[in-house]
Subunit: 281 residues, 2 copies
């Protein structure tokens, strides 16, 4: 595995690979690898001739009061994991080289970016679509891999790729969970023992809602209230949102029908955790 | 020359060309060809293996009260001109296919897009950068050609290409002028006889300013006022802006120094005309 720090060197290598007709897989990450990341890398290793993993804690997707500085970083551990999975290139640019002085171009998906996490994190998804656009141009992938854990992000990137006519196949892989079914997240590292234990309520609430729908409940508000009560019963939990939305438009719904995204964001101490489940009726 | 109307067919052809290692030149246009357009096409024909000209009156770069519907269109004339210059593919998508239902992704260059023409045409440059981004992804050019007539547009696209790490060489070609030095523009077709005659004042004003600077005047305000007086002396002229700005940042200047862009936008009847000149002291 080669670790690439220079933007222009990474670009030159990718140009050469594309000209040689190699199929490139890109796994964009912010590092602090857990099994969720590794599942994306493994899938790319299976499907693509060349696997490029970008590791970049992207400053422009964090709000001023968010955890950019404290975001978990473990470069040496990440390198070892990526290397052991057969990654060809680990791209680790510096923020200064990635966003040079005078940088002022942004890619924005309107509508979808304002809902759910976008409502509590203004500018977040603009930062995500912009970094992904830059990584797509630099690495010229045939396929790019994202996790269903960030369901809204995956939808927004899908919209961007379609709207801007990119010739890139997106592969969205399932959420990987801990033994107690807490969704894996780099931010789980922020949790105290008690918070960690209580956070398992998130997936219990999602499964309870799924079961309620399976049994015939179609009242979104009642289901949402049931989930919120379960979560709020945990002393360290502070709900950001608990939502039932149309899985295409992310618009809130009243009646459960068609493909519905159950999504939530909840703070436990310093950690803002998200999770989701798609239900089709 | 092949005329391509279907977005997916155009994309498939370009993918094939890129995979075959062909160097593609893209000339994005809105049609109604004059010598300015043709100079771009000729240059691409000289330099590139495959010449693709897009002809698309881009609805999202027009404001609601602007001339989208009335913009000059001459598809048959344009086809004949493009074909005679050896264009390989003329890409003429429909607005409905280019911006399908649900389209909601935009590329925006902040700062530069708000000044000069951006101040009088809110959203204009967002429409330009978005259509160009889509055309770049669809046609995958090695080079793209734009005219210095739209100086601000050329700068904004340059910024976008650099910021988003596109591997595309931009070629900016000089303004082509009529015998009386009016800059060629598709919108000159809107001018009445009197308006057409009076519009020649624009370049006279630019040249007068250049001469004043050459003789040692460094007071931007005095030069601007001199130009404005010359233009305002024409009965059919209504000034939108007359500006001396830093040629990199487009910020207004007080003293003329370094590389300065003299730029103006003036209405004559239905036509809003622009022109510019770069002066280095």
């Amino acid at each position: 595995m080669q670790t690439m720090e220079k933007v222009e060197e990474m670009r030159a290598i990718c140009l050469g690979l594309r000209q040689a007709g190699k199929a490139i897989g890109l796994v964009p990450t912010m590092g602090a690898y857990h099994e969720g990341h590794l599942s994306l890398i493994r899938e790319s290793r299976k499907r693509d001739e060349v696997v490029i993993v970008s590791l970049f804690v992207n400053p422009i997707q964090f709000g001023p009061s968010e955890d950019y500085r404290g975001y978990p970083r473990d470069l040496e551990g990440d390198k070892a994991k990526a290397s052991s999975l057969g990654v060809d290139y680990l791209f680790v640019p510096s923020p200064e080289a990635f966003y040079p002085k005078g940088f002022s171009t942004y890619v924005l998906v309107e509508g979808l970016s304002d809902k759910l996490c976008g409502a509590s994190r203004p500018g977040h998804f603009r930062g995500v679509t912009t970094v992904v656009a830059k990584l797509f141009h630099l690495t010229m992938p045939n396929r790019a891999y994202f996790g269903q854990k960030d369901a809204q992000q995956a939808m927004i990137i899908g919209r961007m790729v379609a709207d801007l006519n990119w010739d890139i196949e997106l592969v969205i892989l399932p959420i990987v969970r801990e033994a107690d079914e807490l969704a894996m997240s780099s931010r789980n590292a922020y949790l105290s023992g008690q918070e960690r234990q209580e956070a398992a309520v998130l997936f219990r609430a999602l499964r309870w809602a799924e079961e309620a729908i399976r049994k015939g409940d179609r009242e979104a508000q009642r289901i949402r209230e049931g989930m919120s009560r379960m979560i709020a019963s945990m002393p360290t939990a502070r709900i950001d949102y608990v939502a039932l939305v149309d899985a295409e438009s992310l618009e809130g719904i009243e009646k459960v029908e068609g493909k519905v995204l159950l999504a939530l964001a909840v703070r436990f101490g310093e950690a803002r955790l998200i999770d989701n489940l798609v239900v089709t009726v």
